[in-house]
Amino acid sequence: MKTLQIESSVANGNSLNRAEGSSRARKNLHLQRYTSMMPGILLLLALSIFPSIYALVVSFQRWILTDPKGRKFIGFENYQDLLGNPAFWHSLRVTLTFVLLTVVIESILAYVLALIFFRPMPFHRIMRTLILVPMLTAPIVVGMLARFMFDSQFGIINTFSESLGLGRHDYLSGLNSAFLTIVIVDIWQWTPFLFLIFLAAMQSVPEELIEAVKLDGASRIHIITHIFIPLMKYPIIVGITLRLIDSFRVYDLIYATTRGGPINLTSTMSWSIYESGFKILNVGVASAYSAVFLVTVLLVSGVFLKKLSKEIDFTR
């Protein structure tokens, strides 16, 4: 609350400055404030604007890396081929299913976990620390580990499932199991991330509020749904948005385990772009694919970002 008051006085101060006049000294002082931004912004511009334009240009060309002489302008052909290729729509479906499944399940799991850890219990600090480990582990390491543990011949997961009477399976190569196995590994790695955010948000709900509502006779479930969730709306949206954006990127995991297989059942758009750019070495197609991919990600996350920006304005 105090911050709010101070903020408004700053705003007034600034407007006062602006209104006071445009003498050179003041303008210089004004600009001087922002000189520290230059290096960073220049770097960002250099590595974002120029490559984007370049990539867009390349997407209108036929350019296979091993055929430099055959490089030429072909207009929208790459895009037409892409959108007319059933493999593209399949990849889109795989990606959207993956993102949806992982984000939804991770959110629910993380929320439940936050509820469990909300109040102290014996060893809760150690347990919390251990739970965070998966999200700190490099995704490529997680991928290798997953491949090792789910191996059909000697993986520990098969040993477990066999002893539980569920039999041995080709988890990462079975037609019906490969995709789900990838989803499960992602859930294992990233639920802790949402758990962290949700728990911190839950713990910042004022204790008095909970006590007051309890005194009024509210049930636990009522507290969970009608008190926590509304008060945690901002962190929940931030967390889910971050997770949403990141789950589009899944690549290391697929690189280490299924490589888009079996057949193409785990070929996400990220993976397909990698294949077209670095296995088929057709950077024209890969660039067109990247553009379409970016649009997809922006569209999907745009919905959440709009909600987010509303919250930001509200709490300023």
Binding site: R62, L65, T66, D67, P68, K69, D81, S152, Q153, R168, D170, L172, S173, L175, R259, G260, G261, P262, I263, N264, E275, F278, K279, I280, L281, N282
Partner: protein, 449 residues
């Protein structure tokens, strides 16, 4: 409290700054040291022929000439990707590359490889296996020196095939004699008979071969294709012919045989086949000739000396044809040390070094003379009377009829497209006709573009 926080952080920041300064100092020191003598940077496959170069030959070369060779071992797909991107960037980081020969047309057409004709004398050229040189040549220039050849062979268990009881039982059950098969049908019969039976306490499956999506399943399939007289592409490499009768027959046989592999076969890499062969869980296999060495390692293999080799069986009256595999050493056009690189590459494949690589466990020799070299042919497996390189006569025979992959610039992409459909067929998602048709259309589209 705040002051302490500042002090603590000051130490931390100072420490980090010191470490960074140290790191930068060391790395610049390394740079100046490296510039003293010529250093070559090479990429090889982490197969035995790559490790032999890295562990033995490169250090030896440095002692001989003072030229240091840094050898980096990276996987097949990664080598291809690196070459694609580094060449496009005209990057000079690496001077020498180990290539799978099917990449020669692609990188040769782009002009990325240095011609090596002048590196071999006329005598040398006669000493190399003709097919080996042929697949290193594109545009009438020799763009890579062969390092190792290995045709696909039919492996079979001599302990099972020569066992009188097993032979008798087989004759009783099928009416046929148990002997190294010459036809696909005979082989199928034998594999099906072995499949699932237990011998000496070990459950045995019919056969194994690379079958994973990626180059694996295509490479196995090619032996079938060629042995049925199938031409996957027309002579000009402009049309895919997978739906022709001969090709369909080959694919059908391959799909049928896939069912006689151990569980998890759809994932089988080269490594899985080796393991199965070592553990004795398969009766036969289609695998590279050179790979046999792994089954003769006492600590890792239960089937030491028990594997024998035959040519690939023929299909539908045609003669069996091995799919030829080979790795080549090339010099990058962007190398800043082309002369030195050429010298090293030539030295790697002299007569004595070809023999040395083979005896150290590298791939099979590329020079005809090496196959009659006493050091190799006279060597026995430790403590036995079995020839270490008993496969050589078969290798030479197989080389006579062996066929390389379609030798054109788009071959790697062709393999990627084909392997997806083969994977769909072997996992039952599509039948042979559907899968072949899908592959045809994808490949034709690629060939047009």
């Amino acid at each position: 409290m705040e002051k302490n926080t500042i002090r603590r952080h000051r130490k931390g920041l100072g420490g980090v700054a010191a470490v960074i300064a140290l790191c930068t100092a060391i790395s610049t020191a390394n740079l100046t040291q490296a510039n003293a003598a010529t250093t070559l940077n090479a990429i090889f496959l982490p197969a035995t022929w790559g490790t032999v170069v890295k562990d033995t030959l490169a250090p030896e070369y440095e002692k001989l000439t003072g030229v240091k060779v840094n050898v980096q071992l990276i996987g097949r797909d990664e080598i291809y990707q690196k070459m694609g991107t580094l060449f496009a960037a005209e990057d000079a980081s690496y001077d020498i590359f180990n290539l799978d020969y099917n990449w020669i047309p692609e990188f040769g057409r782009a002009g990325y490889l240095v011609p090596l004709d002048d590196v071999l004398s006329a005598d040398d050229k006669k000493d190399f296996l003709p097919k080996a040189l042929a697949v290193g040549t594109y545009g009438k220039k020799l763009l890579g020196i062969p390092q190792t050849i290995h045709p696909a062979l039919l492996w079979y268990r001599s302990d099972l095939y020569n066992d009188s009881k097993i032979k008798a039982q087989f004759k009783k059950d099928t009416g046929a004699t148990l002997v190294a098969p010459k036809t696909m049908k005979a082989w199928e019969q034998q594999a099906a008979w072995f499949n699932g039976k237990t011998f000496n306490g070990t459950k045995v499956y019919g056969w194994a071969a690379q079958a994973a999506k990626g180059y694996g399943n295509v490479h196995t399939w090619l032996s079938f294709a060629y042995s049925y007289g199938c031409e996957p592409l027309n002579a000009k490499f402009t049309k895919s012919q997978l739906s022709t009768a001969k090709c369909l027959n080959a694919t059908k046989q391959w799909a049928k045989m896939m069912k006689l592999m151990p569980p998890g076969a759809n994932d089988f890499t080269y490594d899985s086949v080796t393991q199965a062969a070592q553990q004795g869980t398969i009766a036969t296999a289609i695998q590279w000739s050179w790979g046999a060495f792994a089954t003769d390692i006492p600590d890792a293999s239960k089937t030491v000396g028990k594997w024998s080799f035959a040519e690939i069986p023929g299909g539908d009256g045609a003669k069996g044809v091995s799919h030829l595999a080979q790795w080549i050493i090339s010099v990058s056009k962007f190398s800043k040390n082309q002369a030195e690189a050429k010298k090293f590459v030539a030295w790697l494949e002299t007569k004595s070094n070809d023999v040395k690589q083979a005896s150290l466990g590298g791939g099979d020799p590329v020079r005809i003379s090496s196959y009659s070299n006493k050091t190799l042919t006279g060597e026995k497996l430790a403590g036995t009377d079995v020839d270490r390189f008993r496969r050589y006569p078969i290798v030479l025979k197989a080389m006579e009829s062996a066929r390389p992959r379609p030798f054109f610039p788009g071959e790697e992409a062709w393999e990627t497209l084909l392997s997806t459909q083969l994977s769909a067929i072997s996992s039952g998602q599509k039948n042979v006709t559907q899968g072949s048709k899908a592959a045809d259309s994808a490949i034709n589209k690629f060939l047009k573009g």
